[in-house]
């Protein structure tokens, strides 16, 4: 009997010599989520920025097409006289589509295609806005074409890349 007690005591020492873990592991549920949204896209048009016919003067000048087609003006240096400018001129637009109510920004890249004596400014093609509940934003803009002195008759065309991105 004594031997049995000693054995139990020894076992007890072994049993309690370690740390007692009432609960040595636990698990909790975590949630992972993501929202896939529509890629942003941009569609140029339906109309391009058009300045129509311009009669250049010897001193050069500039032509401005407003964003609402209601204002078409030339400065004094390029005034060819009444009735000779503005023929067929109109503003331009592009439409951005994407996620509903998303904030976006858009910008015009470098303008190419014009001779060195002619430049085009299109500040309205760069900016920011919100796509609204329909996920769409149409931007209408005009521009100013500046014609240097001595530019001969002929067609002028320019191009640039319009870029839109989520903010």
């Amino acid at each position: 009997m004594k031997n049995s007690i000693k054995l139990l005591a020894a076992l007890s020492i072994i049993g309690f010599s370690g740390t007692a873990f009432a609960q040595n592991s636990t698990t909790a549920a975590a949630t992972a989520s993501a929202t896939i949204i529509q890629p942003i896209s941009i569609s140029v048009g339906p109309t391009a920025l058009e300045f129509g016919n311009i009669v250049a003067t010897a001193n050069g000048g500039s032509v401005t097409e407003s964003a609402n087609n209601t204002d078409y003006s030339l400065d004094a240096g390029s005034d060819p006289g009444a009735g000779n400018y503005g023929t067929g001129g109109h503003d331009a637009s592009f439409t951005i589509t994407g996620a509903n109510s998303a904030n976006v920004s858009y910008s015009a890249g470098p303008i190419t295609g014009l001779p060195g004596t002619v430049s085009l400014s299109i500040p309205g093609a760069t900016g920011s806005g919100n796509l609204g509940v329909g996920g769409s934003l149409t931007v209408t803009y005009g521009g100013t074409l500046t014609i240097g002195a001595g530019v001969g008759a002929g067609a002028l065309s320019a191009s640039w890349t319009e870029t839109a991105m989520y903010n």
Binding site: K2, K6, A9, A10, S12, I13, G15, F16, S17, T19, A20, F21, A22, Q23, N24, S25, T26, T27, A28, A29, A30, T31, A32, S33, A34, T35, I36, I37, Q38, P39, I40, A99, N100, S101, A102, N103, V104, M165, Y166, N167
Partner: protein, 183 residues
């Protein structure tokens, strides 16, 4: 039956008699036993793992890595390709206006005791189409440690989100287990 008892008794006596005569046939020594009751390990979820808005890549499969930086004490996002990035402002979801964030949990246990955190190697979100390889931030190897004197440790679970081109728009979600264990 009686014969068997006799044999057993004789055998027992024989064994007893064969034992040497000892001057001291028993001994004793003070033994001690001790126990230390420690705190049960527990997990308290604080926030979910949320990637916010993601744009599928134009082709192939893209990834979004989301992890917590112990240097800046903020969540870090990396989109590959970068076109998957919906933009800084649009990362906030309209319904709750929160930015993408790692899952934040508080693990509590006995101070000075080491522990390990484990998460699944990969989880598939619902509806199917997106998977996440979760890991404990800031690196995959720091998935445990030793409970400090306060007994609680902040754990951040991030992961790599895998999205294929053409993944339909929508909300994707799933629950997964985070396990904390004493080592």
């Amino acid at each position: 039956m009686k014969t068997r008892y006799k044999i057993l008794v004789a055998g027992g006596l024989l064994i007893a008699c064969q034992a040497p005569l000892l001057a001291q046939n028993s001994t004793s020594q003070l033994a001690t036993s001790s126990a230390k009751i420690i705190a049960a390990i527990s997990i308290n979820p604080i926030s979910e793992l949320d990637y916010g808005n993601v744009i599928p890549p134009p082709s192939g499969t893209g990834t979004v890595d989301l992890e917590y930086s112990l240097i800046s004490h903020s969540d870090q996002l990396m989109y590959n390709p970068s076109s998957m990035d919906p933009g800084v402002a649009d990362r906030a979801e309209p319904e709750d206006a929160t930015s993408p964030h790692t899952a934040h949990i508080v693990v509590s246990g006995e101070p000075g005791t080491s522990f390990t955190i484990s998460v699944p190697a990969s989880i598939e979100l619902n509806p199917p189409g997106i998977s996440i390889s979760p890991y404990v931030s800031p690196t995959e190897s720091s998935n445990g440690g030793v409970f400090p004197s306060g007994g609680s440790v902040n754990i951040y679970v991030g992961g790599t989100l895998n999205v294929a081109a053409g993944t339909p728009r929508g909300e994707y979600e799933v629950q997964f287990n985070v396990t904390a264990s004493y080592n």
